[in-house]
Amino acid sequence: MTPKTAIRAEAERLYQAIAATGAQPVEADLLLPAETLLDLYGEDIRARAYVTHDPIRGEMMLRPDFTVPVVQAHMEHGAEPARYCYMGEVFRQQMHLGPRQSEYVQVGYEVFDGSDPLAADAEVFALFQSLLAPLGLRAATGDIGILRAAVEALETTPRRKAALLRHLWRPRRFRALLDRFGGRAPVPPARADLLARMARGEDVLSGLVQTGLRSEEEIAERLTALREDAAAPPISGAEVARLEAVLSVADKCPAALAQLAAMARDLPALTPAVDRLAARIDSLATRGIDVAALDFEASYGRTTMEYYDGFVFGFYAESEADLPPIASGGRYDALTAVLGHGRSIPAVGGVIRPGLVARLKGVL
């Protein structure tokens, strides 16, 4: 067998196993409108996807993942609850020299079912765990909902919370914001000067030539926001420390849960998210997952997909640490809200890479 034939056979096996649970097969286009993907993922996707130009349809992308077309197909044609399975190539430009492939097969499973989201999370994870069990992989789990709750729990302005939540997925900018809001980073001299001039009642916009689309009203609105922010008290060191403690929780599920529950005693706003984590761990246990041996990392998934907003997971080959995750997934209600222009669907799912499975089985 050629490598592609072996991968295709492995993909077929995984796909049939998922379809056997009752999931509906779904197909997705290879050429997708670039605009939708760029609006969702930002300019970074342009570096990762193959962009091409169609004389009629404009900028198009070779399918970089299945999430968007599957969600769109469901929103157009589907009825809830729905469970889908799919199989096919995705294309990713590799910006670095090396062995990573720019074309590979994914097999996936997506669940659109709002009746019991925590049970749906556990259902997806348990299915993947059973499909991958022979490979002896390490599973990592996390919960973006805990991180969001920890930010929401800060005693600070809604504007600062919104800024932190927007950058939950960009740890460097998140850290810079936290340092600034906590008064730990010095105020840049130009900002201090600007604030001083405004405090003296100076019109800092007078005499400036305005060019471009951004209007003077928009600038004035942000100047007001800057003044208000300068007047708001810094986030206290104790609060920053509590947030960092939440971010750094990493242990087996029961111990991680106990640590977060202890933190929630000082931070009651965290309680609902911790309760949901506890219920999900129970659901996983009910499905036969050995939760005592399952890793939980509060910051897991922070640098992967922006729209994961709850449960996240990945499966890794410890024997080949250089490999990307063999499978990964999570809950992405926020993505459906953006794609649905306000109409949101509870959604959880994941993908397996049959090429990596075949390699670990030694058939490649």
């Binding site: 460097r172 916009l205 600038i219």
Partner: protein, 238 residues
Amino acid sequence: MLKIGVPSKGRLMEKTFDWFGTRGVTMRQTGADREYSGTIEGIEGAELVLLSAGEIPRELSAGRIHLGVTGSDLVREKLADWDRQVVELAPLGFGHADLIIAVPTGWADVETLDDLDAVAAQFRRDHGHRLRIATKYHRLVRDFLTAQGVADYQLVDSQGATEGTVKNLTAEAVADITSSGETLRANHLKILSDGLIHSSQAMLFASLRAEWDAAARTTLAALLARIGLDTALPELSG
């Protein structure tokens, strides 16, 4: 034969010839004024290849030339993992230009990338599309903004007169090369205080992809000795 790629016209060519000339290696254009062929004197076994500065990175990457003179910005922009494809042998001390991010001077609230990021979020909310940054340096700008954690922007391609895009309402900010900053000021743009992406200058590069046979290596050693570069010879595969 050791092939050396040099910019084929203008000040970059003249300054490159001067740089080598003062170090005892004479390069000159041969034939008619506009003919792209040249010779090297002072070093045995070297051949001059006159090329557009913009094509030199690609020729180095393909290994069709052993050495090349071009801007450090062009190599970083055009080659993925540039430092695994070429080696910097020497900065040549001319062709200085900074790749920077600039915004309208009227934006009294913006001085830093942190501000630009906040404005990008506000702009997207108010205008329904991402804040546009005009540039021709897509890779360098995107890598920089990703590393800095700036979101909600989009790059729009601009191959010339980039400073005019803001006034013409085709972009809200620019990322462009500047040396004196005069064109920026004339177009009511100011540089972000932490918006320096890359300080570029003309640089002598060696290709890691070229075939470095014994003859090419001997010629390189002689050339480096002649021009007074005591840098250790890079690891070059034969």
